[in-house]
Symmetry: C2
Subunit: 232 residues, 2 copies
DNA sequence: ATAAAAATTTAGACTAATCTAAAAAAATAT
DNA sequence: ATATTTTTTTAGATTAGTCTAAATTTTTAT
């Protein structure tokens, strides 16, 4: 018989840090979406799938730890410490997404829930080795930028296809919605990161766009789709 | 600005399943070490790094869920359902260890704590793709067998170097202790999985062994080391 | 066989994250 | 400007996993 294969330092997973990381990540992303303005309790409740009351409790705790700037009824922003944690989680999330797609062959519509779990694995060494193994990618499979190991998020300028000038070829660089349904729809249209698009015409009736894909085939995309296609 | 990059189904990590999985895994490994006999509350408390009282509580819960066979004061064994979960966790643990060593270049002494976290990632699809990506390995970097996707653990017969016959060349197939200190010691001796060993002599004084490594160099290993080297 | 020791369980308490319901504050609309 | 609505916070409760201390059961030693 052989010895036990493990020497646990702690059995119980640290739910606290998991939960904290989630709140901080969500605050970061909602702040970004909000052009840097405070995030509201209700928005957080929606994104965390909890109730506003639970969010209020948690905000007090995070503020006690100096991870957020919080004044009652005034919404929150991240402190430098809080942002550091948020960026580390986002870096891990996006690197794992690259792994799942580039190494394991997952589709971009299948990786979100798994990356949600992997993003909390706690090992800087692992994260940096993974980064190297993947060739230090700058963008994840949805086109989102990957913060570097110093916790710096590359700033990227986005334009939406729905606002692109007519008859100008642009490259598809990202999506602003990550739902499997949207991503699968793009798969069907053969629209993927890096493809080129040229808007020929916008319908007055439903705002749908007639576009040329890869300087080759012509197709129609709805305004809903065009609004969430990021191009440059 | 772009939309939030996630659509959480649940924010809070399921601590219950994490904890449950840990207990089941530990019960499996301790039962194996015990030749299939019941595992005691105290042994579980030691391995889980908790107190006996906490273990008692948890055993009642696991028994309520029909994951273990438990009669008060009599120790526990896994039910079929419990064993299924345990083997799935062990499979994931060992596959991730292979990934960490073979793909990311970690040493076998560095991977335990990371695999402890990765083993709880919940996605059968991920596990099976990882298995394929790694070439469906049968053993982890410590020589421990990897259960297959049907939850079957290959049965492996172990012998300890300390009990090997004299002057017979044997192959090193595993270790029965996984502490970094032990593994690093083996690294220094250049003893690794697959190497060959021939015991020339056992000292009457301290039971240390004079062995030939790889049919080449001669070295001494202590009884403590030889006891934890598995060979065939 | 029984007394002492060891192992295990129970009782009661604590913490973190959540909830519902109620109260309070801020925003909105007339 | 004030009444109404919406948002946010507080109060009090719940659950899971843990703890210490006390009680109980089993094992060991004479």
């Amino acid at each position: 018989m052989y010895e036990i294969t493990f020497n646990l330092k702690k059995l119980s997973f640290d739910l606290t840090s998991f939960t904290e990381e989630n709140y901080l990540k969500i605050i970061y992303l909602l702040t970004e979406r909000n052009n840097g303005n405070e995030v509201s309790t209700n928005d957080l409740a929606e994104q965390t799938q909890t109730k506003a009351a639970s969010v209020s409790d948690m905000l007090r705790k995070l503020a006690d730890k100096s991870l957020i700037n919080y004044k009652k009824y005034q919404g929150v922003t991240l402190t430098t410490d809080g942002e550091k944690i948020a960026l580390s989680v986002i870096r891990k999330h996006r690197l794992w997404e690259v792994f799942l797609v580039n190494k394991l062959g997952f589709g971009w519509d299948e990786i979100h829930d798994i990356a949600e779990q992997l993003e909390h694995i706690d090992s800087e060494d692992l994260t940096n080795r993974l980064d190297t193994f993947l060739g230090s990618p700058k963008f994840d499979p949805h086109g989102d930028p990957i913060p570097n190991s110093q916790g710096q998020m590359p700033s990227v300028v986005y334009h939406r296809l729905s606002e692109a000038p007519l008859n100008k070829e642009v490259a598809m660089t990202g999506v602003s919605v990550h739902s499997p349904a949207f991503l699968q729809h793009l798969d069907k249209l053969q629209i993927k990161l890096g493809c080129t698009l040229k808007v020929l015409e916008i319908s007055e009736f439903d705002k749908s766009l007639n576009v040329i894909l890869n300087n080759d085939s012509s197709l129609f995309v709805s305004y809903e789709v065009a609004k969430n296609l990021l191009v440059k």
